[in-house]
Symmetry: C2
DNA sequence: CGGTATCCCCCTCGATACTG
DNA sequence: CAGTATCGAGGGGGATACCG
């Protein structure tokens, strides 16, 4: 078996990559990297996400083994989401990228308006 | 001005993040991180990309300042794409993520079929 | 070789309404 | 609170044809 390569269209790693780098997937992992959170907390933290996409993306990432869903089974419902070990490992690589992009954005804006 | 945050829907960093983590954007940066490449080389290296999406994504990343287009102006045409300094900086954060995903994929497959 | 231009499908995604 | 169901618009993306 050849090693996984995202450049191969048939490689399973490509699918995983698309899940992880999906529009909301990145942000969910980012949000959960700080601490576990509940459904409503995630909706608030991730500005602009719809219920549909939040549910869909959470399920995908759970199936991929990056996220754990813990249902307390109480009424009213209390469900908590957290990163698995694999998810935390992943976040360790994803967060530096996010921080770089944010820092790069700030740098660009400052360059555009140098003197205040 | 507050610092950039990808969790804010209006923040410019969110747009940049979506360009960088777009389906083909990731792979283009990955391909160019090894060495500059020509159009046809990129098409071959990035399995499954259509001409339309290659052109579109290259333009977006060029506008974002991550990619440089160098046209030799000869006949037959010879156009080379390469990473800018910002692009290389970005790749420095993106590549570890890709390598981790590939390695994680391999590990999963081995777990699924332990003894050979 | 290195692209544009056009057509068109389909799938993602957001909005809304509803439920245990 | 934590979702599911449904619908409809938009654009991502493939195929094909053409150009300097």
């Amino acid at each position: 078996m050849p090693p996984a390569s995202v450049l191969s269209s048939q490689c399973p790693s490509r699918t995983l990559l698309e899940h992880v780098t999906s529009k909301w997937g990145v942000l969910i992992i980012h949000a959960l990297s700080q601490s576990p959170a509940r459904w409503s907390g995630l909706r608030r933290a991730i500005e602009g996400v719809s219920e549909k996409m939040l549910a869909q993306t959470l399920k995908t990432l759970e199936a991929d083994g990056f996220i754990e869903r813990h249902d307390h089974g109480t009424i009213p419902p209390h469900v908590e989401y957290s990163l698995t070990n694999a998810g935390q490992d992943l976040a360790g690589h994803l967060l530096p990228l996010l921080r770089w992009i944010e820092a790069h954005t700030d740098a660009q804006l400052i360059d555009a308006a140098p003197a205040t």
